[in-house]
Amino acid sequence: MFRLNLKIALRNLWKNKTSSFINVIGLAIGLAACLMLLLYVTYEWNFDKQAKEAANVYTTMTNIEGDNRKISGTFEGSVTAFGPAIKAALPEVMYTARMDYGKENLIANGTNAFKCKSKFAETDIFKMYDYEFIQGSAKTALNNPNSILLTESTAKLLFGSTDVLNKVVRFKDKYDLNITAVIRDQAENSSNRFDYLMPWSFYESIDESAKSINWGNYSYITLFRLKENADLAAVNQKIMAVIKNNTRNDFQTQALFPLSKLHLYGKFEDGKSIGGAIEQIYLFVGLAFGILLIACINFMNMATAKSEKRAKEVGIKKTIGANRTSLIIQFLTESMVLTFIAVVIAIALLELSLPAFNHLLNINLGISYFNAASWTGILAIVLATGLIAGSYPAFYLSSFNPVQTLKRKIGSKGQWSVSLRQVLVVGQFCFAIILIVATLVIYRQIQYIKNRPVGFDINALVEIPQDGQLKGKYELFKNELLQSGAVSAMFQSSVSLSHHGSNFMDVAWEGMTKPTNTVLFNQVATTYDFIKTNGIKLTDGRDFSKNFASDSVGVLVSASAVKVFGYKNAVGKTMSAFGDKYHIIGVFDDYVWDSPYKSNNPMVVFFDPGRTGYITMRLNETNSLQSNIETITKITKGINPAFPVEVKFLNNLYLEKYNAEKTLGILSNLFGGLAIFVSCLGLFGLVAYSAEQRTKEFGVRKVLGASVANLMQLLSLSFLKMIAVAIVIAIPVSYYAMGKWLIKFEFHTDISWWIMPVAAVGTLLMALITVSFQAYKTAKANPVDALKYE
């Protein structure tokens, strides 16, 4: 029976090549899009979930206390005292590991030197992550303070092989470390990635603040592995008690949060996770199945449109003994066969397009062909697709009464079936239109943010990290560069101009009414020429100057800081930070740093030559860019030979800030386009079928004098009406949805009036082209051929 049904299915496919092609290609595209999105979703979903014990690993979050004992912000970070204190006090804690956030640092094998991501960690990190050791073992890897663990690719980068046990590498051009282990590269969807790992004991020996056990410096990550089934709420309660004992603070400054959830649920409000990237994941899952559903609808529509042809077969089979169940099974078999063919093509399409997709999103996705789970997933999707696509036709077709099917015509008269088909087409195009509108709005929003003035001219600015000799020999470096003419001005600062993230709250000002400040401030430490180089607008006062010895206790403050202070004429007034008093010598306009989507914290710029970090330079624009960069590289290399020269352009650094929304933009563009294409494919199929049905009618009409235009109108109108209905439904829905999306951004564009007409006319136009192509072909056909047809 199955074999026979299969035969009928295959022969049917072969006989109706156009509709089979539309069905298979449509389904294949839908499945490929669905699988691709699901790959991406899986990648995101599995963030930090690779290790066996991942579910029991927690990271420490710090809450910032705001007004009225509310939590004004939450970030991942902790103090050095936290880990040991909690482990000693809580029986639920099995292991704890402190580590730093990781940094690009110099690592060298002789002259073979690279900047790679370093990390320091306590050895219990091996109890949380399942690193796969190629050389050495977890037991011995980080026991000695002078030891270092490399990843496979770092070992290959430095030595060209992984056989490097007991060889020596030089860290930061200062410390010689002994390689004790090599591990396989960590999964890309992992938060705590590094290129090389060093023991915490070594960190303590080179960094005073890491060594001091304190409750005030929130600059470290602390991971915990709790016993299985530990109650997180109870653990956090106990933690509160420990904090209170140690700091006399009755505010819950720190709490544990599952590490495997941080990536997707990393948005906190009032100390509680309220979502995050998971919203995008839901969106993509919706998109994936939406496209697949569109393809399934094509299938259903084609199948029911063809019901007249299939009805006869149903009738015959019923008279010679088939019951409804066997017919339903037959039609489902047919859709399963089709879906199976489609999924094979889909996997081929996926393989072809994945490299480009990976390149677009800058990730590395692939199908794991030897993974049972991925095959189970694909199989489940195939079965579900076959079932969804096949069920309606199967139940519809198998319900035919044999006498009617064999004696009378059936199909076009079934009012219900036609209207359902119309509903499905309208639904398809609704989805397509909503996607077009979404794409346009997302694109406009990205443009809007990009065009928002940064506050200074970023185009001629470059920055380099202030490494090695560039710290001590900064003045020499500055003189050489200015003399060379490549640079017109430069300054050193504790943080990059585009990214700060150095917050503090210990601020007081004249006439302050509150006992303590509750506004988070940002700090930058710099020396001379800060304003001269970056060109940020000074609204009052002046830049730091060598002419005023008192400038060492001077500060520049941002306009928003002045607003917090409540000063009328800020210059000349004082403020204090960390217990020291400072004179305000200048006020500058707020500029964009960190996230361009929200307004930034008030900022205080201190004068401190000791806090180095980055050097920012304004290029001399009378020279060519290339010669400027060559000169800078040469001079840098001359002063600081051990480090590679990394010149970064400020405008590129600002571009990187749009990545998250760029991904969203790319995905909505790509899959919106696909959704429309598959919808049009279905429409094409329906029109082609409808034209075939009416060949004779058209022939007669032509003989009676109908023009090509008449006939095209006749065939197209009913389809275009459906698109019109879809537009009427989709426009308000998308207006509402995109309005909600935009509101999430502090700075956002409006939905321009022209977006809706553009989406509507665009869709209508595409549908019109699809329909008229077939309509024209039919209408132009020789009437005699049409009449001979029957």
Binding site: K15, G321, N323, K407
Partner: protein, 232 residues
């Protein structure tokens, strides 16, 4: 073998009600070959459909060897049909996607006959119908007469007690038509009961008994003496 009493069937549309069968009484003996004749719209096809359990009447009784069939549910009707009845249609109604062999095999599959026996049965009937060299062809590749032979073969392969034929020669020229009628007669002679709807008195002359229908009533019945004598 068949006893039909007071059968009524009404077709309803939004505007009109058409009474297709208006209290028909009918009996068919085992081994008989009965023709049903009458003008268009007299209800003869409806009667055949009811007898084939393809359609349900409003009221009446239909007994098949003492089993009342009108009270059966869909599944039981379908089962009864596939075990006891075979159909031959005017427009052949072969499945275009299946070969001659597969078309004939289909009812056996629905009757869950094992594969080896199916093959044997189909080959036997193909030989008997003289279409051996056509068994791998698709219906469109055959002439009308050949298609109807395949349809008859399909109706017979399950060895049904009753064969229902609806204008079996309607789409055939006279020589092919005669071939099919002779086939039916041969079949009847081996003991199969046949009920045939026809317009043609020539075709009807092959049967034992001719029933005339008009407006849903039986208006006359005629025993075909020549044929009966032949039998004796």
């Amino acid at each position: 073998m068949i006893k039909i009493e007071k059968l009524e069937k009404v077709y309803k549309t939004e505007e009109v009600e058409t009474t297709a069968l208006n209290g028909i009484d009918l009996y068919v003996k085992e081994g008989e070959f009965v023709s049903i004749m009458g003008p268009s719209g007299c209800g003869k096809s409806t009667l055949l459909n009811v007898m084939g359990l393809l359609d349900k009447p409003e009221s009446g009784s239909y007994k098949f060897i003492d089993t009342e069939l009108l009270t059966l549910n869909d599944r039981e009707r379908s089962n009864f049909r596939k075990r006891n009845m075979g159909f031959v249609f005017q427009n052949f109604n072969l499945i275009d996607e299946l070969t001659v062999f597969e078309n004939i095999e289909l009812p056996l599959i629905y009757n869950k006959v094992p594969a080896t026996e199916r093959k044997k049965l189909v080959n036997e009937i193909i030989e008997r119908m003289n279409i051996v060299n056509r068994s791998g062809h698709f219906p469109q590749q055959l002439s009308g007469g050949q298609q109807q032979r395949v349809a008859v073969a399909r109706a017979l392969v399950t060895k049904p007690k009753l064969v229902l034929a609806d204008e079996p020669t309607g789409n055939l020229d006279s020589s092919h038509g005669n071939e099919v009628m002779e086939l039916l007669c041969e079949l009847n002679e081996t003991g199969t009961t046949i009920v045939m709807v026809t317009h043609s008195s020539h075709d009807a002359s092959f049967s034992n008994r001719i029933i005339n229908l008009k407006d849903g009533h039986v208006i006359s019945e005629k025993v075909n003496k020549s044929r009966n004598e032949e039998l004796i």
